[in-house]
């Protein structure tokens, strides 16, 4: 009887913790980017990619220069050769500075997400 008074709330608490924590594990997440976030690359960089932990249905990737102008060709899309990756080609003649890449994806399970990362060119 007394023992149950201890165990029940503890078990309920643990169950609540699990119930709340578990759904996040099923989500597709950003795994890596190229260039890596915070990395410095040559101004001749041609392509930017973002790779996720699982297959995605679709995605976009846009890159902007330090002054805010768009330097990616179009809005990018899922890499035809890799179902977990979005990619976009960059325009030529880029200047040195900090660039920002913004991505959106729809995971295989339909979950829509967005995020960003930045890198430097010199």
């Amino acid at each position: 009887m007394q023992l149950r008074r201890i165990i029940t709330p503890t078990a309920l608490g643990a169950a609540a913790a699990l119930a709340v924590a578990v759904p996040a594990a099923a989500h597709t997440e950003l795994k890596s980017t190229s260039p890596a976030a915070g990395a410095t690359k040559s101004r001749s960089l041609g392509t930017v990619t973002a790779t996720f932990t699982a297959a995605i249905q679709r995605g976009t990737l846009k890159v902007t220069a330090p002054d805010g102008t768009k330097v990616s060709k179009g809005s990018g899309g899922r890499d035809p050769r890799k179902v977990t990756r979005v990619r976009v080609a960059l325009k030529g003649g880029l200047s040195a500075g900090r660039y920002k890449a913004r991505w959106t994806i729809r995971a295989a399970d339909g979950h829509e997400q967005a995020g960003s990362f930045s890198f430097r060119l010199r």
Binding site: P9, L12, G13, V20, E112, A114
Partner: protein
């Protein structure tokens, strides 16, 4: 009457020969919406005396499986396609001669309308196999799912666009979070943060429950 006996045997032989075609591998649903997470189910009947020991299913191009139901007594392996998606899924087990098994999984359908052809090979413990790869009118047809915007959306798994409001209208991905755009250090994704927050909240709840439980604990007991 030998003639009658022969006729009877011939009838039996015809029945025995015909029966395998009656029990086809099937895939449901027959119709699905494009770009929708759907629960597919492959129904595999044991269609002869030998026992089914393996079922290999080729995932049609553009279909993205993301979750698999466990079929008790069956082991699942997958082989990747060249683009890293699931190319072939293989289930190994042992089916009763008069049994059937269902293999269920969640997968996103392609965003384009069209026909999905589910080619499957069923192997038996007598070394024989049945290749369900033919056209719909063949003796061993491959199952077909029609991807059509007219089909109801399932949103299996509950993460995508629901069957309500806008129905089959294609969804627009959200704009990047504004907080993220302002931040000096770049975050990964918005959902990762949300998941962490929920997880932390759960942990706090659990700890609080433990504290409450321990404080209530009478000294005399245990």
């Amino acid at each position: 009457m030998p003639r009658l006996r022969i006729a009877a045997l011939a009838t039996l032989a015809a029945l025995a020969g015909a029966s395998p075609a009656a029990a086809h591998i099937q895939m449901s649903p027959a119709e699905a919406a494009p770009g929708d997470p759907v629960r597919f189910e492959l129904l595999v009947p044991g269609e002869k005396e030998a026992r089914t020991t393996e079922v290999a299913l080729q995932i049609p191009k553009g279909v993205l499986p993301f979750s698999w139901e466990d079929a008790p007594g069956w082991k699942r392996t997958t082989e990747p396609a060249t683009d890293g998606s699931v190319g072939v899924v293989r289930w190994r087990g042992r089916l009763a001669a008069d049994g059937f098994v269902r293999f269920s999984f969640l997968a996103a359908t392609p965003e384009q309308e069209g026909q999905l052809t589910w080619k499957a090979v069923q192997r038996y413990d007598d070394g024989s196999e049945a290749a369900w790869i033919g056209p719909p009118d063949a003796e061993n047809p491959a199952a077909v799912t029609e991807v059509s915007a007219a089909a109801a959306r399932q949103n299996a798994g509950g993460e995508g666009q629901g069957a309500g409001a806008d129905g089959a209208a294609p969804s627009t991905p959200p704009a990047p979070a504004s907080a993220d755009a302002e931040a000096d250090d770049d975050g990964g994704g918005t959902s990762g943060t949300l998941g962490l927050a929920f997880g932390a909240a759960g942990l706090v709840l659990g700890a609080a429950a433990l504290v409450v439980a321990l404080r209530r604990r009478p000294r005399a007991v245990v």
